[in-house]
């Protein structure tokens, strides 16, 4: 059989098959809808980004970033949002600082030890429940806990030294709770992806379990940990409910007590999210321009974090030759 006839046959077989392929009206509509959904999502994202960019450029003054919010009736008197930016930083750093060690430790324990099994299962589902709990519920739970007398040294106190359950520390520790599941999840994933023979090689060199974890496994999974931490930071930066309930509705820093540094942590304030909320028509201050400007800054922070995740995950070729 010559090559020519073979090709001919192939061609005929192809048309026979392709000829059967019919596109009914329903199929065409389906494909059209799929295109529509995909392009629509693109357009929505572009729309949000573009709109915020325009509003941000329109309303953002550099001076606003460096001045504190002031009470005032007129737009020009109400100052900027230096305090909210610092507040966002404080809450994010606190939350991550609390969540990262706990999250990594939990993940290591779950993947490397995981005994007794029942406890491990219970912890797993506990992490899942935390992940599923709405942040507003976590917020008012935090309020409930930190209003107890024994925690009074954490929070702003009202008359008669009753703790109000509001401060940066409290908001930060509840924020840690919403970042925790993300950190645990991505650390576990990273640990799982390390092949068994790496651990065994380490044991063969006479290292015990703890030092294997510290010297081999943790360095190897630092990308996963990094991703989890940045994801958690994104969550913390964007959360409004916890700040709204646990930081009080003051826009400026209101330090409490006399110890420098600690007084700020123990006091109340605001973050960018609550600043946006309070300045939108939904809050009390009706100054949408300020809200747009702050929202723009917030969006930029989120974008930078997103970009950070891309950087971390991009060169994720496997270290183990797979």
């Amino acid at each position: 059989m010559s090559a020519q006839t073979l090709a001919d046959r192939g061609q005929r077989l192809y048309t026979a098959i392709r000829g059967n392929e019919s596109w009914s009206i329903g199929d065409r509509i389906g494909v059209g809808l799929a295109w529509l959904a995909g392009i629509g999502l693109c357009l929505i994202a572009a729309g949000i980004l573009g709109y915020m960019l325009v509003r941000g450029v329109q309303y953002l003054n550099v001076s606003e970033v460096f001045s504190s919010p002031q009470p005032g009736l007129d737009q020009s008197e109400t100052g900027g949002f230096l305090d909210p930016i610092q507040g966002t930083l404080i809450v994010t750093i606190l939350g991550t600082a609390i969540a990262a060690p706990i999250g990594v430790a939990t993940a290591v324990w779950l993947t490397e030890y995981g005994k007794p099994r029942g406890l491990a299962r219970a912890v797993e589902s506990a992490v899942e429940i935390v992940a599923g709990t709405p942040s507003i519920v976590l917020a008012i739970f935090g309020l409930l806990v930190f209003q107890q007398g024994i925690f009074s040294w954490f929070s702003v106190t009202g008359e008669g030294a009753t703790p109000l359950g509001r401060s940066f520390i409290i908001a930060g520790s509840l924020m840690a709770l919403i970042a925790l599941p993300l950190i645990v999840g991505s650390t576990r994933e990273a640990l799982y992806s390390i092949p068994r023979h790496v651990r065994e090689a380490s044991y063969a060199l006479g290292k015990d379990r703890a030092s294997t974890i510290r010297r081999v496994l943790l360095p190897a999974s630092r990308r996963g940990i990094g991703t989890g931490v940045v994801l958690g930071m994104g969550r913390i930066v964007g959360d409004t409910a916890i700040v709204f309930i646990l930081l009080g509705a003051t826009l400026q820093f209101e330090p409490e007590g006399a110890v420098p540094g600690w007084d700020v942590l123990k006091g109340t304030g605001s973050t960018l999210t609550t600043y946006v909320y309070q300045n939108s028509p939904a809050g009390e201050g009706g100054s949408p321009e300020k809200a747009y400007a702050a929202a723009f800054v917030l969006l930029m922070i989120v974008l930078v974090l997103n970009f950070g995740i891309n950087l971390i995950t991009r060169e994720r070729q496997s270290m183990w030759g797979r």
Binding site: L33, G40, I48, A126, G132, F141, T240, S280
Partner: protein, 309 residues
């Protein structure tokens, strides 16, 4: 140690919230969940109830809020399921490479935007638009003795919430479609089925557990969304009435989570706080139930992937 601490913390959370919420449930019985009266006036009465603990007023019937929560969450999740399945199919099968290169970061961006920004855009752009251009004066007059229609409405809440939860679902469903063995869809194509049919009848069907899991996750997210909905969906405890026809979609609604945010100032008043904790308890139960459902869906999924390889 730490893990056990976490466990204790969760236990504490559930016990604390429930013990705090108990008086509100106990005083109303099952009527707590039922309809009756205006929730906002009931809340105001609870807020102003006398200071002695014996004469606390607990009467509340939260049906309007439960109904709104179901409507908004359900509507958004159903809408988002369709959109996300379609766009996942688009990403996996139809999108040309340059479009895909734009679409994936776009979806990641949508997932990362804080809810307060969605709320801000919804409140300052979509709500006025709906209020001024979409709702006709005739429609406003038709229900003016019951409720004022100002644009912040059920439909805006559903739409903005859909935009918020779709990206999460797209990510999960795309992963699942990618993990369907290539030979399966190729087998279908070899039988002369077109690309759309092959993907819909083989790929999507095989990825069904993932779609369920994604929907569950999205439901949990939607249920807990408080700030955005309190900004956009109208802050009055009104139960939208399906009998009003098209106007139904323009009526305001307020979910349970949004109610907690709106009334957070009153947490320190004892009976009022207890009522709010009762709302939180309902949310907690539903989200725990949802995590369980998600776990069950994932079990089904892992069984499937094991069988496939």
């Amino acid at each position: 140690m730490l893990s056990a601490g976490l466990l204790v913390l969760i236990g504490f959370m559930i016990v604390f919230v429930f013990s705090k919420a108990w008086p509100s449930f106990a005083n109303n019985g099952l009527a707590w969940f039922g309809p009756g009266g205006d929730v906002d006036t009931q809340l105001a009465e609870i807020f102003n109830s006398p200071a002695e603990s014996k004469s606390y007023n607990y009467t509340i019937h939260v049906w309007p809020m439960l109904w709104s929560t179901m409507l908004i969450t359900g509507g958004a999740v159903i809408l988002a399921t369709f959109i996300s399945v379609l766009s996942a199919m688009f990403i996996v099968e139809f999108a040309p490479a340059p479009v895909r290169a734009v679409l994936q970061p776009a979806i990641r961006l949508l997932a990362a935007v804080p809810s307060v920004i969605y709320g801000l855009i919804g409140l300052l752009v979509i709500v006025p638009f709906v209020g001024n251009h979409v709702i006709t004066t005739h429609q406003k007059e038709s229900v003016q003795y019951v409720i004022q229609l100002g644009g912040s409405s059920l439909i805006v809440g559903i739409v903005v919430l859909t935009v918020m939860i779709t990206p999460i679902m797209v990510a999960i469903i795309t992963d699942a479609l990618h993990s369907v063995p290539r030979t399966w869809t190729e087998g279908a194509k070899a039988l002369g089925v077109n690309r759309w049919r092959a993907l819909r009848t083989v790929g999507v069907r095989a990825a069904r557990p993932a779609i369920v899991a994604a929907a569950v996750l999205a439901t949990a997210r939607a249920l807990g969304e408080a700030i955005m909905l309190s900004m956009v969906a109208g802050s009055s405890a009104f139960a939208p009435n399906p009998l009003d026809g098209l106007v139904f979609f323009y009526e305001p609604a307020r979910t349970i989570a949004a109610t907690i945010v709106d009334n957070a100032d009153g947490l320190s008043v004892k009976p009022f706080g207890q009522t709010l904790y009762a709302f939180a308890a309902v949310l907690l139960i539903s989200s725990a139930f949802l995590s369980f459902a998600g776990w069950a869906a994932r079990q089904a999924m892992s069984k499937y992937t094991l069988g496939a390889r």
